[in-house]
Assembly symmetry: C2
Homo-oligomer: 174 residues x 2
């Protein structure tokens, strides 16, 4: 089961070697390194961007996940509804049949760590570079995220809530 | 994997005891007996009925399948594109988030048999009664379906291609 109702997240551009050292010092547990290919979709009759929503299929080692992201509920540390479930590869053709067309692909290599109850992701994103994402699952996780950000010597003002998709779309329109 | 690109199917109202006897004589293999709850959805911006399409979530013993059915390609023996994949229970909430609303539920108890490469389903449908469905996966299966129909002493003219959903909607509108 991949149920997760809330996504609480910050992102920051980093030097990956420095962060790896810091995560080691903090005894964050290394979980896995994976390739992820995320495909984002356009809705057949409304604009996901205007609604601050997203529909995505993630492929990770031949496993597929369908994910809906709701509008951001908080801007400083991003909080939004997230619904995710495991599906199969036929999801691409099915979404096409019901009117969803491909908007953009985001490809990354992710090193996943765990610190307390947080997912800590060191991402190398194709076309964008190296980022750290820290993710929790509840409003209460915000303070733990702030604690980790501080321990990693990251300034709060350098944190971003912009998504890789938004960054890539900005990139390709310029 | 639950990939199946074509659905080739006939349906007929039957006396289940007679059919059970006949299937025994024909040495059809009994596979399983299951409860199925099918939920059909309305599209957010077009009419599936006008397009002769359907989107369905099937729940069978706590396993969930998402299925798209394309327009009928042949009317006498129903042939249509069918795309099916396994999903998880969160699919209901996700479909709601992207604009799909529930149209109707179809509940049935299905006794599943296999004869040659055909699925033979003896269905007790809530609100409709007892039916036999014979299903293949390719255009070539049509002749095997005709062979089985003949062996079961079913008259070709009594065969129907109308779906349980259509029958129930007719039912509830009268």
């Amino acid at each position: 089961m991949n149920e997760k109702m809330l996504e609480v997240e910050v992102k920051v551009r980093v030097n990956p070697e420095q962060i790896k050292e810091k995560l080691k010092e903090l005894k964050a547990a290394f979980i896995k390194e994976v390739e992820q290919e995320d495909t984002y979709f356009k809705h057949p009759c409304w604009n996901f961007k205007d609604r601050d929503e997203a529909l995505r299929v993630r492929e990770e080692g031949n496993i597929f996940f369908l994910t809906f992201k709701g509008p951001k509920l908080d801007k400083k540390i991003k909080v939004r509804k997230e619904l995710q479930l495991q599906v199969e590869s036929e999801i691409f053709e099915l979404l096409k049949e019901i009117g969803f067309s491909e908007l953009k692909k985001v490809r990354k290599r992710r090193k996943l760590y765990q610190w307390k109850n947080l997912k800590v992701c060191l991402d190398k994103v194709e076309g964008l570079g190296d980022f750290l994402e820290i993710e929790g699952k509840s409003w209460e996780d915000k303070s733990i995220i702030r604690e980790l950000v501080k321990k990693l010597n990251i300034k709060e003002e350098s944190l971003s809530t912009i998504s890789y998709l938004e960054l890539l779309l900005l990139h390709s329109s310029s």
